[in-house]
């Protein structure tokens, strides 16, 4: 804006607040000079303004690939789940000490899912029987959290509620983050709980007449976590954490069945049955390293999981976050997942189990999955636009293992 020399001077309001929240792009020189200035004695930091409010929307959609004909009992390809997700989130800074975040997820699911698997006498392979009916379900999930900032620490509390036709869950938790060495080391810890209630819809629970129908079951989970984030040098951070979770109550899937050969060898189809408790430990490690010559950051994640159902898994994720001119960020990545089978899992059972635990759910089987993805992000003024694509395939012995392609579009708006 230019004005000729002799025009009347107009009053302009200038806001010279230049401190920005850590998730903004910060002008390097301004950051460096301001930080150096703040290190000078006697300069108390000007009142730190709260971060700006952010509103975000994501729309995701994925369709599981149709089950191959050779894997189904009827030798016909069967369509599986189509899932759409709308996710809204907002960060609402309240003051320099308090900030809130809310998010809501609305998910629609329709399609058929694996019901049980059997041993096909003709081929001696396991094959999937799908639920004939197509399920149409929606889920609404809402969460709210609050954070309170102290000079060297942050306290968080969160609560959430999820509801779908047959399942409600109420969750909550609290945590704290403690900062050391001017935030070069942050230690965080917390705990969470979830109280769930399952009331299977009768028409979806298809059983033989003499099988017990599940009507109203509960499940509780309790978790604690502790971890740290360490700034290693000006280009790298390392994060590591452990989460221990205990789930008790009704942990089976009321819609799934298993084929069990009885004492005489005759195959029966019965409801699956999982143990009433599942305790697990998760160990997550992450490295973020920036390469100045390439204007990009390498992300490497490793997660180890192990539980008392004897299921262990390893997940590796590697991505490259490339900054491009014009405020574009391009992130290709890969994820490799591997898990071993639960101790009581089998695609079908040739004899009854003494502990009476059965499940043919592919999610308890031995498999590996690989996904390739890329994200594109563009900043336009106060709006960030994001597009993401992911192609997931899994392989293993269970015939019901699924592949899908996930697509997401969305934006974040900073006020």
């Amino acid at each position: 804006m230019t004005s000729p020399r002799n025009a009347p001077a107009s009053i302009q309001t200038a806001k010279n607040v230049s401190t920005r929240a850590s998730h903004y792009e910060v002008s390097t020189k301004l950051w460096a000079l301001t930080s150096a200035a703040l290190a000078m004695p006697g300069i108390a930091q000007a009142a730190v303004p709260p971060e700006k409010p952010i509103f975000g929307l994501r729309l995701s959609q994925y369709s599981e690939d149709a089950l191959q004909a050779s894997n189904t009992l009827g030798n016909q390809a069967v369509d599986r789940y189509d899932i759409g997700v709308m996710h809204l989130n907002g960060v609402i800074p309240y003051s320099e000490k308090v900030s809130f975040a809310v998010d809501m997820e609305y998910e629609t699911m329709s399609g058929a899912s694996p019901w049980y698997s059997i041993k096909d006498p003709a081929s001696n392979k396991a094959k999937v029987v799908m639920t004939g009916a197509s399920i149409d379900d929606t889920r609404l999930d809402m969460n709210a959290s609050g954070s309170y900032y102290l000079p060297d620490a942050r306290l968080d509390v969160h609560t959430g509620f999820s509801t779908e036709e047959d399942y409600q869950s109420f969750s909550g938790g609290m945590g704290t983050a403690l900062e050391f060495y001017q935030q070069q080391l942050v230690v965080d810890m917390g705990m969470s709980f979830s109280a769930d209630r399952l009331q299977p819809t009768p028409h979806s629970q298809l059983l033989a007449d003499n099988q017990k129908r599940t009507t109203d079951e509960r499940k509780g989970s309790y978790g604690i976590y502790v971890g740290f984030t360490q700034v290693v040098n000006r280009l790298m951070t390392f994060q590591s954490g452990v989460n221990m979770l205990l789930k008790t109550g009704y942990l089976s899937d009321p819609y799934k069945l298993v084929q069990v050969a009885d004492m005489t060898g005759f195959p029966q189809v019965v409801s699956e049955n999982r143990p009433g408790d599942r305790s697990s430990v998760v160990w997550v490690n992450r490295v973020r390293a920036y390469f100045e010559d390439y204007s990009g950051a390498l992300h490497l994640d490793y997660r180890y999981y192990s539980d008392n159902w004897n299921l262990t898994s390893n997940t590796f994720e590697l991505s490259w976050n490339q900054e491009l001119k014009g405020n574009w960020t391009l992130t290709p990545g890969i994820r490799w997942y591997q898990q071993s089978e639960a101790s009581f899992y089998a695609p079908y059972y040739l004899a009854p189990r003494a502990d009476e635990f059965y499940s043919s759910d592919y999610r308890l089987s031995d498999f590996t999955a690989m996904s390739y993805y890329f994200d594109v992000r563009k900043k336009l003024g106060d709006v960030d636009i994001v597009f993401a694509f992911e192609d997931y395939t899994s392989s293993g012995d269970n015939p019901a293992l699924t592949n899908f392609m996930l697509m997401t579009v969305g934006f974040d708006y900073r006020f």
Partner: protein, 330 residues
Amino acid sequence: MITVSEHVSPLISQHLLEPCADWRCVQYNFKLMGSPCQCIVYGQDPANLSVIMQQVFTELQALEQQFSRYQQDSWLSQVNQAAGTGQPVLQTPMSLAWVSYADQAFQQSGGLFDATAGVLRQAWDFKGGRLPDPAHIDALLPLIGWDQVQWNSHSIYLPLCGMQLDFGGFGKEYAADYAAARFRALGVDHGLVDLGGDLAVIGLQPNQQPWKVGVRDPFFRNSQSRPSGRAVCQLTLSQGGLATSGMYERCIRTDLKCYGHILQPRTGWPAEDTWASVTVLASQCIVAGTLSTVSLLQSAADARHWLQETGLSYVLVDAQGRVETAQLNF
């Protein structure tokens, strides 16, 4: 880059200084680091305000003592006297912060802001109004270069005899931030610190209004440059700091052009084709001052782009008197 010892004050609108209800205003004019300064504070007990004012003034004088090149026994003078002698000088916690800031300013400006460029003072005679001898400047250039300074958290050493350290490029701005912070710590919530044109806000006016500040027209001259100059632009300042750098405050005029007092460390001469004055607003006056000074060491287009990258508010006045501003709302 030469120390500017006579900043011209921005204009602070008179009507602000009328008392607001039961608030009393105490205004103190003094000279510090060679410049006319004033502190305006509001409070309910003027006697107490005066005591606070005196205390802050005393502390500012102590600061000046440590980092002034005029005082023979200041830390800065010790470093300058030890140049080329092989004897490093120990850092104090305060000096380390100053040296670190000077280092950051050097890095972030691509070497344009250089705390060793004060030796150019020996060649440039602004009071006399004569251009320097190019040979003299060339002789001084090897003594300039922050990257030659050997320093760490323990000590600092200027390797060549004749090298000089000079914190004048940000000393006054730092003092403004320091004074404002001290006032706040001593319980003053409303006021403004003005050290020769470098402003730091202590707090809003008692009626919760921001301070109205005018950016002085760099071309308007009367015989004594009295404070009743003309403003090209008015701003409101609610927090943080403001600093102005101007080519025309002190310059040597020839028939062809005006040579300002902000000199490039690599050439020893002022920048060509740059702004007449740059005013920057930032959270700290010291940062605003560094940015405004470095802007005058670049060409006009480069300086504008460089400032825009920071996202801060600024006012630019060019040699023809045209004004450009950026008001960025956060």
